[in-house]
Amino acid sequence: MTDICILGAGIHPFGRTDGVSGLQQGVFATRQALGDAGVDWADIEIAFGGSSAAGNADIMVNELGLTGLPFINVANGCATGGSALYSAFAAIRAGQADLALAVGFDKHPRGAFDPKPADWGLPDWYGETGLMLTTQFFALKLRRYMEQHGISTTTLGRVAEKAFENGALAPHSWRKSPVDLETILNSQMVNDPLTKFMFCAPAEGAVALVLGTEAKARELGIAPVRLKTATVRTRPPGSFEVFAPSLDIERGPSPTVIASKAAFEAAGLGPADIDVAQLQDTESGAEIMHMAENGFCADGDQEQWLAEGRTRLGGRLPVNTDGGCLACGEPIGASGLRQVYENVIQLRGAAGARQVESARTAYSHVYGAPGISAVTILQR
């Protein structure tokens, strides 16, 4: 089977860009990705894209050109970008196209997300009584995990400290200033045990990736980054998901665990082969838990990993090298693709001050409501 490659990558800086719509940011990123690959919009044979709060992605054809291509809108919560990429990957593998686009963008109002119960198949009282907040889910999942596996709040602080350090080195990040550990730990409590600096915020931004066959890469004279796998899984029985009025007493694995296993199997690789990883870090604890769920360490070992700086730049496995969601914010539609963008830059050796030395294999993981995980493994 032919390898599927990422031929072009584009990004609109994350954060807040007043006066530029989410859609326009998507167009910006797409043009950059096309330029990067050295192809025209007319060359793209199929596109997959999505946003959560900034409109239908296929409207972009108004600005990019009415070429008649199939353009599928994707909506999978925080995993929207991952699902768009998965779809583009699958389309090329199925022989439907030699050149495909995956794009995600978003522009959220300030403050926490305000989901509507009916959209999630939940009764109104669940939202009315103040139980339907993503921040609560993160805190509740984390508190249980900390209790069971001996994770300290200092470790949560270290994750955020690392994120802001890395974010300061990434041109596309939102938060550009390092924040010291004391400030993080002592900042305003939002949902115990998580403080203000341990949470990412909804934001704006866009990412586009041009995917193609290996033959296409040769034709264009591009040294390709190979997409060894793009894997998506929904939740198995007994997983602990956002917006769950009840949980089974008999606990099971998470969608991340099964997506990660399937991805490693598909790529013929294991966690020890990974040089750099981008793991969903909607808050500090998510990164901690996802380190174990993706197979990089045992439950509880994160305490030692963070204390020793193993996930910092220069460590054994740098994690979230552009500062992740904590430093980039979370535009839902774009967030999962930002992780892949960062991995492409790392594998090209173009990451400047945040470059992971001789990175050859890179991993990304995004998680979304109501229990979906998307994993990619890239190799140069």
Partner: protein
């Protein structure tokens, strides 16, 4: 007083939450799912232990939140009801700095926005 939702908790002085038992697998869910063919209503145990907890420190957006404008932080938890399921709930009567996993608690009816809802309150032990 009107209930915040139908079939959420039983009537009377000592109410219980109403869950649904999957007739095929025995799995219990809360609240009672609408599919009456698949799920039969069951009264859930009134007492259990805190499985995880947090404190909501900022006012949720309205809609969907219908709590008072003047916001007071409130504690929420998952409570394990033995042999049944783990339910998400507001806590009442706990001091925030004493909250921890494993504390025993008991269902109480609680008025929310003029309607009857539910919460879990502290108890000394699970025997009372």
């Amino acid at each position: 007083m009107q209930d915040i939702a139908e079939q959420l908790l039983t009537d009377g002085p000592d109410p219980a939450l109403i869950g649904g038992r999957d007739r095929a697998t025995g799995r219990i869910m809360f609240p009672l799912p609408a599919d009456a063919g698949r799920f039969e209503p069951v009264e859930l145990p009134r007492t259990g232990r805190i499985w995880s907890w947090t404190v909501q420190r900022f006012r949720p957006k309205s809609p969907p939140y219908t709590g008072p404008e003047a916001f007071e932080p409130y504690a929420i938890a998952y409570v394990e009801l033995p042999g049944a399921t783990i339910v998400e709930t507001r806590l009442t009567g706990f001091s925030f700095d004493t909250l921890k996993v494993g504390l025993p608690c008991r269902l109480v009816a609680e008025t929310f926005g003029g309607r009857r809802s539910y919460a879990f309150a502290p108890v000394e032990s699970l025997d009372d």
